[in-house]
Point group: C2
Chain length 600, copies 2
């Protein structure tokens, strides 16, 4: 039989392949090339003006930040201009966000600067002279951009791999306080790394734990010792014009930049996806995290062949697009055109730009991120736990690095959530006589002192079953004791039928019925099901009958396997039907008792 | 002011110290020495017979397992007898569980065997001759027990430190599938380590990843190659009588056994606390995890001065106590007395006990743990995720070691729970006309097609807000579309008041009101509050009014800080009052409209 089936499967597969029509190909293209879905519907009248204006504004930022972040990355400024041109072009084709502006970014530049300073200054001889006199730049400059391009390439490959592994959904683990504090911490790193340029000094970037403080310290010392150096102002220097011929990034460097590439891939993607989500929420459109991974991966891998430094979406430029009313990625495409113009026409005039101005551009560009300190007040007011997460993640980020801060923040925020889940309320009692609908109320009102409803309001799993057990027992005891009081007070007045019978027989009157409403148990694990089954088995021994309402089929099965003997009359589809069943049973009992009494 | 207050604080502190009376001291002693609370109330008539019988049964196991596990720990058998005597004595004083039987335990013995084999066989010269000819044993034997005692001492210190850090509550993270699979995996390790004794061979214990398989392989090879060795049967050998004089464990070894000590402290405590919890659940008494940590810590630290190997509660002996009806730790104390008798009188006769018999004792003692394979069927039926957790944890345990399996299991089971939480249902809609109580029903029935209730049934935090947003929008759309159908069908029959007015004015009729019942939001973080606030602000723009019911004060504050303008009439203490407010407002509007119509 299986032998005869195999051709069938094959036939099916072949059929499916032959059935792939134009519609499927079109759907796939639209999904993977979002530009195809929005560009044909682009309304020139509505959007072009806003996009052009914001595109022009963006160009100024792209050029200024491109030069500044390239210098920060320890590479020649012209590569910053390339990085402001190619990545936005590719993102506009593959990206889903309408407002995200990719290109150079302070935090990723700082990460790649770590790799460049580490590899090129110390191991100058390790690099082959891959391009002599290319673009009129020295070998030393080409080695530096080689390392930066290697980080870009590997980071992009990592992002594309994450897309192939469908890791986009892990974005779920990033909460706003974590991203906010991590970026603030990274921005603090960047600002402190720029102190030397403000003071006109040149020290290498020192990475590693507590490196930041060492930098600060050196700068201060140098400032007080070498005051006279300040008067000779550093400038950007000569910038070549034109677009370079594509070149493969140095593959022998890849193994040396794995740490930086991972760090850049994670931190860059985190900031980018957060900006994309924010703009999607604000302007009500949808973002696919995996497609974004692909878009950012491609806009790193392809530009790495064109001498680009690591790039990601930058908050400052993205907010600029919001504020100037940009509608689509056309704004970024217009800015790309203008950057191209700058590269061919204006680049040489950037020679006299002082380094300290670049440092100011960087720090001003980070203003938004540093302003996130104000979030602290918001978190304090809304949720103290989030405040603690913010502060701890910030401290870890400034003491170590952005990637470590990010990982710490994710783990810490998940741990805090688990802690809070284990302490969250799981059950609450309902007074039947108060919260019941009319169909059932008149019918059972004479017995309502004998029945109570307890709602389970959370999934039951090993982290909260202990809390569930304690709470359930507390509520049960509270309900039963209240019931006693109520009964003693009300029985003579309200229950004429049971009044006479039960006066002499206290034990039968003590038996109460508890309806457990399981509609809140959206999932359960073995421990949860076993605990519920145990409670259901214990209660009858303590004189309380149990009726289960709104149980899932899987929960009924699980309770059965956990040792709870299934009796169909114990499971009801709703609280209402449980109460109806209880009432009719009580009536029967009362009638039988009445008959017995009359017989006597 | 603060200066004048300081003496006040001091006075208060002094007052509190001077106020410590007999009652406080007594309470502290009862809490830290549980024996004081149960021993005075011990009923000789009720419990003594059962305790004596089960104590005698326990002695046989304690002696047999003591000798067997000591040999397995690569130390002289007499130390196993000591380990069956001192730890249960101390646990009976400090422990809270009535049925747990501490002493030698296969898994902890295997862990300490790793340390002994590693340190004594390879680095014989590293140990000073601390006790020459003591108990008539060779220096080599004394060095071996020295290492085992060092593991015991350090493991106990770690457990006491965990008690001081109040880490007992972390027991919450241990779920039944994880402990079950970890112990089964560890038992598999023990069984495979005993194969050589069944076959009468002697090979060193090889620890480390995949070491288990290497053992098995060697044994099989030896078995087929050295068949003749099998005929010369190994026996236990001479056992000295008497109790040794206390001696400090070799402190210079401590740094070499840190890994084993941690492993033993965690795995031993995990098994012990799980047994204690099980017996507490079965016989309905309370366990304090921190007190248990203290009890197990002390019953390792003190016996480590008396040449004891690492000990913990063993499932086999604990189940023996259950099954023979033991009531209290008196059973263990009786067994201690009998073990003392064995040490002084019967020990020399153990000489001829064959090693293969010991191996059988070990394997039979592990039967219960290996039988846990049957749990797999249970997990498969109740919860597939738990089945996966069991299988993965088991595989990690047998490939690596018990401690790694334990850590993997905890992390994996928590990750699975988070995954399920992010996918759990968060909201459900209520049909107002169906599920409403009688007070409100007649009053609003004419408007009930205009109002719907949505219940939020889970805490809102960053891991599930995305799911919440999607689900909420889906339910909202579903409710609104159903409302439209319902309205179109029912309006002519049921709503005579609105019927005439709204026929010409579709837009005003489209405005629905949504009551969001927040009673299920037991906690929230910033992201959760911000998402809810955003939804509440978006809906009015889409033509749906929002009323919030059963909001916590902190949630109202948080919504306000998240940008949701507070208007007191939007927050209600219950769904009922929200519906009443809605009805009275609708009536006013209808009346005004009617007036306007009549004016026209």
């Amino acid at each position: 039989m299986p032998r005869s089936r195999r051709p069938e499967y094959l036939t099916l597969a072949l059929e499916r392949i032959s059935n792939i029509g134009f519609a499927d190909v079109k759907h796939w293209c639209l999904r993977r090339l979002p530009i195809l879905s929005w560009a044909p519907r682009y309304s020139l009248q509505e959007n072009l003006l806003a996009d052009t204006v914001s595109g022009m504004m963006l160009t100024i930022q792209q050029v200024a930040q491109g030069v500044a972040f390239a210098v920060m990355s320890s590479v020649h400024p012209v590569f910053g201009l390339y990085s402001s041109l190619f990545p936005p072009l590719i993102y506009a084709i593959f990206g889903m966000s309408h407002h995200v502006s990719t290109g150079t970014f302070a935090i990723t530049s700082l990460i790649s600067a770590g790799a460049v300073e580490r590899l090129v200054t110390s191991n100058k001889e390790n690099f082959t002279n891959s391009s002599q006199g290319f673009l009129g730049l020295s070998d030393f400059e080409m080695q530096r951009i080689g390392v930066a391009a290697a980080v870009t390439f590997l980071g992009g490959i990592i992002q594309i791999s994450m897309c192939l592994l469908q890791l986009g959904s892990a974005t779920l683990l990033l909460s706003e306080p974590v991203v906010s504090s991590m970026t603030t911490g990274a921005a603090t790193h960047v600002v402190t790394s720029q102190v030397k340029y403000f003071l006109g000094m040149k020290t290498p970037y020192i990475s590693g734990p507590l490196g930041m403080f060492y930098i600060i310290a050196t700068s201060l010392v140098c400032y007080f010792v070498d005051m006279e150096n300040v008067y000779g102002i550093n400038v950007v220097g000569p910038i070549p014009t034109g677009i370079p011929f594509p070149q493969v990034p140095p593959m022998d460097t890849l193994t040396n930049v794995v740490v930086e590439a991972f760090s850049f891939a994670l931190v860059g993607y985190t900031v980018s996806i957060f900006l994309a989500h924010n703009s999607a929420k604000k302007f009500n459109y949808r973002i696919d995290e995996n497609q974004e991974l692909l878009a950012h991966g491609l806009s790193n891998v392809i530009p790495s062949f064109l001498f680009c430094i690591p790039n990601a979406a930058a908050p400052a430029r993205t907010f600029l697009l919001y504020n100037n009313g940009a509608k689509t990625q056309v704004a970024c495409l217009i800015s790309c055109l203008l950057v191209l113009l700058v590269i061919y026409a204006i680049a040489p005039f950037l020679y006299w730009l002082p380094m300290s101005v670049l440092a100011s551009i960087i720090v001003v560009g980070l203003k938004g991120m540093l302003m996130q300190f104000r979030d602290l007040k918001k978190y304090w007011n809304v949720d103290k736990y989030d405040w603690v997460i913010w502060v701890c993640t910030y401290l870890v980020t400034i003491c170590f690095a952005a990637n470590i801060g990010l990982l710490f923040g994710v783990v810490f925020s998940v741990a805090v959530s688990i802690f809070r889940l284990t302490r969250a309320k799981t059950v609450h009692g309902i007074q039947v006589n108060e919260d019941l609908n009319e169909d059932i109320k008149p019918m059972h009102s004479e017995y309502c002192h004998k029945v109570k409803v307890v709602c389970v309001g959370m999934p039951l799993f090993f982290l909260n079953v202990k809390k569930f057990r304690t709470e359930f027992m507390e509520i049960k005891n509270e309900i039963l004791s209240r019931n006693c009081l109520y009964k003693h007070k009300e029985t003579p007045l309200l229950s004429p039928v049971t009044n006479g019978d039960c006066a002499g027989d206290v034990s039968s009157d003590d038996i109460s019925t508890l309806v457990i409403d399981c509609s809140g148990i959206t999932f359960f694990d073995f421990t949860g099901a076993a605990t519920l089954a145990q409670i259901c088995m214990e209660l009858p021994n303590q004189g309380t009958n149990v009726l289960l309402a709104s149980c899932d089929v899987s929960l009924v099965d699980a309770l059965q396997y956990s040792g709870f003997n299934i009796k169909n009359q114990l499971f009801f589809d709703s609280v209402k039907s449980a109460l109806i069943a209880f009432t009719s049973k009580e009536r029967q009992t009362t009638r039988l008792e009445a008959l017995e009494t009359s017989d006597l």
